[in-house]
């Protein structure tokens, strides 16, 4: 279990001067900060002010500055917008799908970062944007200090060796006409990792045994394997070039539960053997929380909450995380009967035309008449390592605000 170090390292003695610095900012923001201090969540570290001050984009920069080299991947205010084109002859752009709209995060080496959210929240696009499989519209992706978003040509190709992806649908992401051997060798050849046949064979055998595939798999084709084994091939392919970062996009959602557990254990083993860093993207909160050190919850293109995986269940602070958590069925009838369920109304709004202010305010049971629909909340550190983007998170956590009884409009 790793804790982000950045916030705690800002010394407490700066508290007063920082509060003063905040005064110069817009009044609403300032009021919010004062409120945070009087509530029960008093242990908020001084660093949070610094972060609020600098705004969302600055937050990650600040954390990177304090954490020094201890950050493998840093994403600063990443935006991926897809244009919507109309017309036959002239491709007029009539609007944008705001798939990822300003995400900042920092991931340390050896850490597993889980991204969770409903379909359409932009989690997959964020993962692809980080690997530059989608071209970012704006923002920075610093991988070991290099800005991936600005690399081109050969430099980008070389950098790609260090970051790999495991895809959701194992059959769809493996070439049906390539043998396992050729699938695994392709990447190694492209990056000049194979010198001669003997060395290549040794490497292939090692890879197969690492991911738990039988040694006679090399000559077989993907269709000859079961779902779980195919996902192992996908993992072996990612590992074949010795990456540092693996982005796993829904690695187990196509698998049966018993096989899913096998693959989750495999991912954990590989991480401890090779010191890999993972970004695991999934819609299943239980899976994400199980495998991750830290979890980021996404809603409509932005992070709404980020916390160590223990805290996210024990104390979800964002209303959306609470709702998501209460919607996950638990295999325990007694618990299911007694626990309180927050059933959200309606569906996810369209990312083409996202709601003003807080993106979640159209479905939020705790919506307040002010701020929510006018001002977009930034990720604020309420507790060490626990960031949340909600204007009223502190009041909701202390029980001061209750969910609205009236039914929200159906979308």
């Amino acid at each position: 279990m790793t804790e982000p170090q950045s916030p705690q390292e800002v010394p407490d003695r700066d508290r007063d001067s920082e509060v003063e610095a905040v005064e110069s900012h817009e009044p609403t923001q300032q009021q919010r900060i004062k409120d945070l201090h009087v509530t029960d969540l008093g242990e908020t570290e001084a660093a949070s002010e610094a972060e609020i001050e600098a705004g969302e984009a600055g937050a990650a920069e600040a954390s990177a500055a304090t954490a020094g080299e201890d950050v493998l991947l840093e994403v600063n205010n990443l935006k991926v917008h897809f244009p919507i084109k109309r017309g036959v002859l002239f491709d007029r752009t009539v609007g944008y799908v705001y798939a990822v709209d300003g995400v900042s995060l920092a991931i340390k080496p050896g850490e597993t970062y889980g991204l969770v959210g409903e379909s359409g929240c932009g989690k997959t696009t964020l993962g692809r944007g980080i690997l530059r499989l989608e071209e970012p519209t704006e923002g920075q992706v610093l991988f070991g200090g290099t800005d991936i978003a600005s690399l081109t040509g050969e430099a980008l190709r070389k950098e790609r060796r260090r970051m790999q992806m495991v895809f959701q649908d194992p059959l769809g992401s493996l070439d049906p006409r390539q043998t396992v051997e050729s699938i695994l060798l392709e990447g190694m050849r492209a990056h000049g990792l194979v010198k001669d046949k003997a060395q290549a064979n040794a490497r292939l055998r090692q890879l197969l045994s690492d991911v738990g595939l039988p040694a006679n798999s090399l000559r077989k084709y993907p269709h000859e394997f079961s779902g779980g084994q195919r996902q192992r091939i996908g993992i072996a392919r990612a590992l074949s070039v010795d990456p540092e970062l693996i982005v796993a996009d829904e690695p187990v959602s196509a698998l049966d539960v018993s096989v899913q557990a096998q693959v989750l254990n495999l991912l954990a083993d590989l991480q401890s053997e090779r010191g890999l860093t993972y970004i695991v993207i999934a819609h299943d909160l239980a899976v994400v929380r199980h495998i991750s050190d830290r979890v980021g919850v996404m809603y409509l293109g932005s992070l709404v909450e980020e916390a160590p995986s223990i805290d996210i269940y024990a104390e979800p602070l964002h209303p959306y995380t609470r709702a998501l958590m209460s919607a996950v069925p638990v295999p325990d009838p007694v618990l299911e009967d007694t626990r309180e369920r927050i059933v959200l109304r309606g569906d996810l709004p369209s990312p083409v035309n996202p709601p003003s202010g807080c993106r979640f305010h159209t479905r939020c049971p705790w919506r307040q008449p002010t701020l929510c629909d006018t001002e977009r909340p930034v990720l604020t550190e309420l507790k060490p390592g626990h960031r949340v983007a909600c204007h009223y998170a502190a009041e909701i956590a202390s029980g001061e605000l209750k969910p609205n009884a009236e039914q929200l409009e159906l979308v």
């Binding site: 199980h290 223990i310 299911e336 626990r339």
Partner: protein, 351 residues
């Protein structure tokens, strides 16, 4: 007297040059009015084929169906197809997994619902349309008047599934079969649909068969749980019993392989080893034996019977060497007694 009584149902698929494949192999269960019976299992366990056989939706060619499906005194497998068509939609209805491919893409939602009303309830024109609007309203579709004229692709996933449910409920069926109704949906939408189904079943006294692979969904919804493996039921009990004392190694293994929200993260999972392709035929052995951690000599030489379990009430089991209920039971009971959102340290709160 149960509303639906399935006795010794078996479905064999013919294979060219090979012995027939037993997709469903002697499955029996009862469904009473107002109760929800869950069929749980992984892909290939025969749960969907069971439901299709009950509805007689399997193709005529290439398979043999045996056994009795007694619905309120009529054996559904023996009546002529024309009578079956009268029953489908009126007495028995089904909700499928993927609403987009189950709805007709070129016919508006409203017309698809009124079609059922016209066929089974003899309604016409404005009356049918009003009824369809009421149905859409009942399943929680906002602005039903507008939605009546929309097509499936214009609705969101959750809305499509609601439309499917409205269609299934159009004639107040006495039995509803839901085949993985929420698998294609997000968890927040899943919660909406499950609470809708729960309300409908308990308000109207409809009997329901819930087919799913998600043990979490079953835990919150079903009155009785049937765990299926390779075409046979391997364990049956009410939901409290089966989660507190899972005795079949497969049920136990399934429960141990799920990462749970209320257990500490990062703990190692205990998966069921191997995959379904390791199965051996039921005829002379236990199909699960090659993957079973509890397998003993008998397991590979005899086929186990489905009989009352050594421990527990109304608990049926197909196993020679069941899991000791104490071992799993203790942990489950502890977890039960903790608060709805238990912090990991609160386990002492046992009453």
């Amino acid at each position: 007297m149960a509303l639906l009584s399935v006795q010794d149902l078996s479905v064999k698929f013919k294979r060219r040059g090979l012995a027939p494949f037993d997709a469903v192999d002697g499955v029996s269960f009862d469904v009473e009015a107002g109760k929800i019976v869950g069929l749980v299992g992984e892909s290939g366990s025969g749960k969907s084929v069971t439901s299709l056989a009950i509805m007689r939706l399997l193709p005529k060619r290439g398979n043999t169906i045996g056994g009795v499906v007694d619905f309120d005194g009529t054996d559904l497998l023996r009546i002529p197809m024309s009578q079956m068509r009268d029953k489908r939609g009126a007495d028995l209805a089904m909700i499928f997994q993927d609403p987009l491919s189950s709805l007709n893409p070129v016919v508006p939602i409203g017309l698809q619902i009124t079609e059922v009303l016209k066929r089974h309830r003899g309604m016409r024109g404005a009356a049918a349309e009003n009824e369809a609007r009421d149905l859409l309203d009942q399943v929680g579709i906002p602005d039903p008047t507008r939605r009546l004229h929309e097509y499936a692709h214009q609705l969101s996933g959750g809305m499509r599934q609601r439309a499917m449910i409205a269609m299934a409920l159009a004639c107040r069926p006495r039995l509803l079969i839901a085949d993985e109704p929420t698998t294609a949906l997000d968890v927040t939408i899943q919660a909406q649909i499950l609470s809708l189904l729960d309300t409908l079943v308990h308000e109207h006294g409809t009997a329901m068969i819930m087919i799913t692979h998600d043990l979490g969904v079953v835990a919150g919804l079903c009155d009785e749980v049937n765990v299926m493996y390779a075409g046979r039921t391997v364990e049956r009990a009410d939901r409290y019993e089966i989660y507190a004392h899972p005795q079949h190694p497969y049920t136990n293994g399934l429960l141990a392989s799920i990462p749970r929200l209320d257990s500490p993260p990062g703990e190692r999972l205990h998966p069921v080893p191997g995959s379904v392709s390791d199965n051996i035929p039921w005829a002379s052995a236990c199909a699960f034996a090659p993957r079973c951690s509890n397998a003993i000599g008998d397991c590979r030489q005899q086929s186990p019977e489905f009989k009352p379990a050594p421990v527990g009430r109304d608990h049926l089991l197909r196993c020679f060497n069941p899991v000791e209920p104490e071992a799993v039971g203790a942990a489950a009971v502890q977890q039960m007694a903790t608060s709805p959102i238990p912090p990991p340290s609160n386990k002492e709160q046992l009453s």
